[in-house]
């Protein structure tokens, strides 16, 4: 998994993405704020949705309580 390490900790890019998701934003906005390519944001958000770290709200994404806890937020 590109976002989540075997021990359950997050990769640096996943942390950067989750930090950008403190309030609901689009994947395009995450790409802009993190400087990561849009395809990586889309792929990572899909993975974080499956892991319950992110949720979708009307086409925007936001970190869940679990996700925020992972980055100490």
């Amino acid at each position: 998994m590109p976002c989540i390490n075997e021990d359950g900790t997050l990769t640096p890019s996943a942390k950067a993405m989750l930090s950008a998701l403190s309030s609901p934003i689009t994947s395009e906005e995450v790409a802009k704020s993190t400087g990561l390519p849009l395809f990586r944001i889309r792929s990572s958000i899909r993975e974080m949705l499956e892991a319950g770290l992110v949720e979708e709200k009307e086409g925007k994404y936001v970190a869940t309580k679990v996700g925020r806890a992972k980055i100490g937020g």
């Binding site: 998994m1 390519p37 395809f39 990586r40 889309r42 792929s43 993975e47």
Partner: protein, 220 residues
């Protein structure tokens, strides 16, 4: 025997066509699982190489890494592919960085089950039954296949030609023109030929640089 032949045909016969939607896929890459739809809104160059840890492919990967910033400026992403494992890809790109000093910034599909290679007709058994040929597929932001290049195992691709191809396609889209042989950005482009006799008569009066009614160029 017959079953074997049919299986072989199924594995290699699928060929995507220009102007049609590029076949959808989900694949494991060196940067995680990606789907074709993840690239929507960007141009994508999907390219295959025969195998990791081989010399021609290594020069090509360094070449693709070199043009990567220019491609990103043009809104183009790169996605490599071969019939190797993700561990092999990771070891190879690390080796390229360590030995050649070139970081590979784009993801590489580990197509061990040849799923994507089959969808895109990347395996040409006359060349190799197990390795992908040197294929390039240019897919536009709407997911339409716009160009294909196929090179044999022995011959490394020309990175400047790939950049030129992207420039030509994007110029065509932006200005509704065609581009002549060996065209480079900044040079005159071809005005689409007239479709009727009346338009042909008009064409010569429209101020273009014309050799004849069907062959007119203009500067952008």
């Amino acid at each position: 025997m017959e079953e074997k032949v049919i299986t072989e045909i199924k594995e290699t016969a699928a060929m995507p066509r220009l102007g049609e939607r590029a076949p959808a896929f989900e694949a494991t890459t060196t940067q995680g699982a990606v789907r074709l739809e993840d690239f929507k809104g960007s141009w994508l160059i999907l390219f295959s190489h025969p195998a990791d840890f081989t010399p021609v492919c290594t020069t090509e990967f360094m070449g693709f890494a070199e043009i990567h910033p220019e491609l990103r400026k043009r809104g183009v992403e790169l996605l490599g592919l071969s019939v190797d494992s993700v561990s092999s890809h990771i070891a190879w790109v690390r080796n390229i960085e360590e030995k050649m000093g070139v970081k590979i910034p784009f993801p590489v599909i580990a197509d061990l089950d040849k799923k994507v290679a089959t969808l895109y007709g990347m395996i040409h058994p006359g060349e190799s039954k197990t390795e992908t040929a040197r294929c390039v597929f240019v897919i536009d932001p709407e997911g339409i296949l716009r160009a294909m290049i196929y090179y044999p195992l022995t011959t490394g691709r020309n990175m400047q030609e790939i950049l030129r191809l992207i420039d030509a396609l994007q110029t065509t889209d932006k200005h509704k023109v065609a581009t002549p042989a060996n065209w480079k950005p900044g040079e005159a482009v071809i005005v689409p030929p007239p479709k009727t006799q009346e338009m042909a008569e008009q064409r010569l009066k429209e101020g273009y640089e014309c050799k004849d009614w069907y062959f007119c160029k203009k500067k952008l």
